[in-house]
């Protein structure tokens, strides 16, 4: 258990209890008001009908049935596809670029700064920049395609290319996260481990694949879980890039929750979506916490 050895050394005085309470209370109060109470309300609303922002009659599981007889299963498949495709692109790229940036070469600080910049840009800005680059009439990519095929293309009119572009924009925005984590992990590896490998006559590639990668494996796994949650819960990028289209082919569970609430004003259906997302997140979070604890040991 974290910190239990410290507990023994701390004594409890009555004045301490007062101070501790005063120090903790604002945080706990805010968390309860703006997180815990809303979650309870969402769970309650998911079993009721709603009329705009008013909670109406109890309807049992009707909202959940509506989700699964409607777009629900399609949304789940879209979420899984989005998460997996994004991970397949982001994790290897992030680890590879992070590993190269960690080499002591001239100019690596400048290169690192430039490569990480997309990370501080918002999902909205990412979507807008990519919408402009991929613009079918005036964009550079459309121009390249026109040069090759003689036809203009609209990347957001077919399900296949819309999904590819979405994953690409997401990767552009989030690869830096994995790069930063990789560099941080690599810097904790003591130099003599590598030297031992060199003494044994191992090639650089052998040292990298048999010593370095296994050593940063916990970080890579952490990154996979962290980014899975991030992509699964992502709304803004998808909403501002494709708005779920064409024909709901990029509408993930999280986007469906948002659109049901604030585009179609079905708060009841949106709450059911929210509860499903919440439950899946609990599973993800428990896995993540377990990983954190294993990494710590």
């Amino acid at each position: 258990m974290p910190g239990s050895s410290r507990e023994v050394r701390l004594t409890r005085k009555s004045s301490d209890v007062g101070v501790a309470t005063a120090f903790l209370a604002p945080a706990i109060l805010m968390i309860v008001l703006v997180t815990i109470i809303p979650i309870c309300m969402a769970i309650r609303t998911s079993f009721h009908a709603t009329n705009y922002a008013e909670v109406g009659a109890f309807v049992g599981l009707d909202n959940f049935i509506a989700v699964f007889t409607g777009n629900g299963l399609k949304n789940i498949l879209n979420s899984i596809r989005y998460v997996l495709l994004s991970l397949v692109v982001v994790i290897p790229l992030g680890v590879a670029i992070g590993s190269l940036l960690n080499r002591k070469i001239r100019g690596n600080t400048l290169l690192r700064t430039l490569i990480i910049i997309p990370w501080v840009l918002s999902q909205t800005v990412t979507a807008l920049l990519w919408r402009w680059i991929l613009n079918g009439n005036y964009g550079p990519i459309a121009y390249l395609v026109y040069g090759l095929t003689g036809r203009k293309v609209d990347f957001f009119s077919s399900a296949g290319s819309a999904n590819v572009m979405l994953v690409f924009a997401n990767a552009w925005n989030t690869v830096p996260v994995v790069i930063i984590l990789t560099i941080a992990a690599l810097q904790t590896i003591p130099g003599d481990v590598m030297e031992a490998g060199q003494m044994d006559g191992a090639t650089r590639w052998q040292i990298y694949t048999r010593i370095t990668l296994p050593l940063i494996r916990p970080t890579i796994i952490t990154a996979v879980v962290m980014q899975s949650m991030e992509y699964f819960n992502m709304v803004t990028l998808i909403y501002t890039l494709t708005a779920g289209g064409p024909f709901d082919s990029t509408q993930t569970l999280s986007l469906a929750a948002y659109q049901n609430a604030f585009n179609y004003w079905h708060m009841d259906i949106a709450s059911a979506y929210g509860v499903i997302i919440f439950l899946l997140n609990i599973v993800f979070s428990l896995v993540y916490v377990k990983l954190l604890n294993t990494n710590r040991e």
Binding site: T11, M41, L100, W132, T240
Partner: protein, 281 residues
Amino acid sequence: MKKSKLGRTPGLDALTYVVLIAAALVALFPVLWGLFTALKSPAEVNSFPPTLLPNEFTLENFSSVLFRSGFPRYLLNSVIVTAICIVVATIVASHAAYAVTNFRIRFRNQIMFLILMTSMIPPVVMLVPLYMLSVKIGLYDTHFLLILIYTAWRIPVLTWILRGFFEKLPKEIIEAGTLDGCSKPMIFYRLILPISKPGIVAAALLSAVYVWNDFLVSSTFTSKDSLRMLSVGLYNYISQYGIQWGNLMAAVMISIVPMVILFILLQRHFVEGMAAGAVKG
């Protein structure tokens, strides 16, 4: 290529440069394309084939965004909300983090678990109930509500990160403070806070980026144009009839300048904060 000196690897170095420069180009191209677009005249923006660099540089797009649109208002709103939120959240979270690391309190592990779990609840789950609640109690369409939500949502993750920093501080500091007759709050304000400044800056920066960049909260809880924040203001260019890409890209460039500058100046802090939030737990 193979003519390597002792320990030198020109082949690998060359490959490293090729890959990293390619990565940097991919990372920067969309931003530069947007910047060049913002510097073009409307006719050149809507021309095919597109030009990379403007034939004729013009600041027309920037001046129309800055002087003839609602954008400065959105910019100001974002500055105000972000500033208040990070100050309040950092104050509240640093106290909480100190309490869980340095006081013997009941249910400590349960409280830590609650904080960690709530830091992972996705915003989209809470938007609907918070919307219904805010309409009911009349806080909808106020900056107060935006600040309240952003602050409350940043507190768990900030507490978690700061707790990590506080735990790593040498225990001698607290012991020395106690011997000097400092009370626990005095130790916090006079000793812990000053030496934890780098960690606190790192954690606060991450929160600043979060609030500055957020779209969901400000789009869900405000409808008045005068209350809008940056992301929503940007997105509105898209939903208008006939998108003015030159104006939009100028607005995008203005909106990213503060964070890009902060990032370049304080990169180490950013990276530290992010790594602390993710790896060290």
